[in-house]
């Protein structure tokens, strides 16, 4: 906002490379924004549809069970778990722990791995339940 462009930036600010901690950090924001818009929208629509009675719920269910909606449901499931796990990681870091390079990297990778595993587990459970 009020930075004097004539003054140089510290040279170290331009020297960095991607790491899992950066990916998890930006994914926390992206998944949060996705849940806050798409997730919250679907959630409110669902509640309004329940309150509206059988017809309004049938209309919601029509969209919710459309085959391409599965992309949204699986996407929201993954976003939920990724945001939840990186949020828990943030709690640990808020307490001042987990900043050692190896520990920090390990738990950043763990949030990525477990978000995918939990998403796969939930949808395997749902799909296998349908087939049974």
């Amino acid at each position: 906002m009020t930075r004097n462009p004539d003054r140089p930036l510290s040279p170290h600010l331009t020297i960095w490379k991607w790491g899992p901690h950066m990916l998890v950090s930006i994914l926390h924001r992206i998944t949060g924004a996705g849940l806050a818009t798409v997730g919250a929208g679907v959630f409110v629509w669902w509640l309004v549809a329940v309150a509206g009675g059988a017809d309004s719920y049938a209309y919601f269910a029509l969209w919710a069970t459309w085959k391409w909606s599965l992309i949204v449901w699986i996407g929201l499931t993954w976003a939920f778990f990724q945001h939840l796990l990186s949020g828990l990681r943030h709690f640990v870091m808020d307490a001042g722990a987990g900043f050692e390079l190896k520990t920090n990297k390990f738990w950043a990778v763990m949030t990525l791995v477990w978000a995918i595993l939990l998403t796969a587990a939930v949808w395997a459970y749902i799909i296998l339940g349908r087939l049974a």
Partner: protein, 129 residues
């Protein structure tokens, strides 16, 4: 993370210093309450006999479901309003458009929360199925 020199004055422009610690604590309180209420919500949905309109409406007629559902709505929408505001404050640098975005976020999150609360109350207080 943006670590440029605009970060400190930008944060100072958003909230007075004495409010910052309170804001930080509130964010974390709402994170925990949103997490716990969502665990309750998802387990409750899983335990329902079905996700048809009657099953869901029947469930929300019970005050022991309606009240935590109202708390979930308040906690979740407050949490997402604070979160979206942080994203806007970090990435939208021009004062006018930042203000416009914050107004939109505040209005839409309150509007959506209002719709959700009214729907829960309508189901919980409604006389017929």
């Amino acid at each position: 993370m943006t670590t440029d020199t605009t970060a400190a004055p930008a944060a100072a422009a958003v909230a007075p210093a004495e409010d910052a610690a309170h804001h930080w604590g509130l964010e974390r309180m709402l994170s925990v309450s949103t997490l716990l209420l969502f665990v309750w919500f998802l387990v409750s949905l899983w335990r329902l006999p079905g996700l048809d309109q009657q099953s869901v409406a029947e469930w929300l007629k019970n005050p022991l479901a309606a009240v935590p559902m109202l708390l979930l709505v308040v906690s979740t929408f407050w949490h997402l309003k604070l979160g979206l505001a942080v994203v806007v404050e970090d990435y939208v640098h021009e004062a006018g458009s930042r203000f416009a975005w914050l107004v939109v976020i505040n209005f839409l999150s309150l509007f959506a929360a209002g719709l959700a609360i009214l729907s829960v109350l309508k189901i919980a207080l409604g006389s017929s199925a």
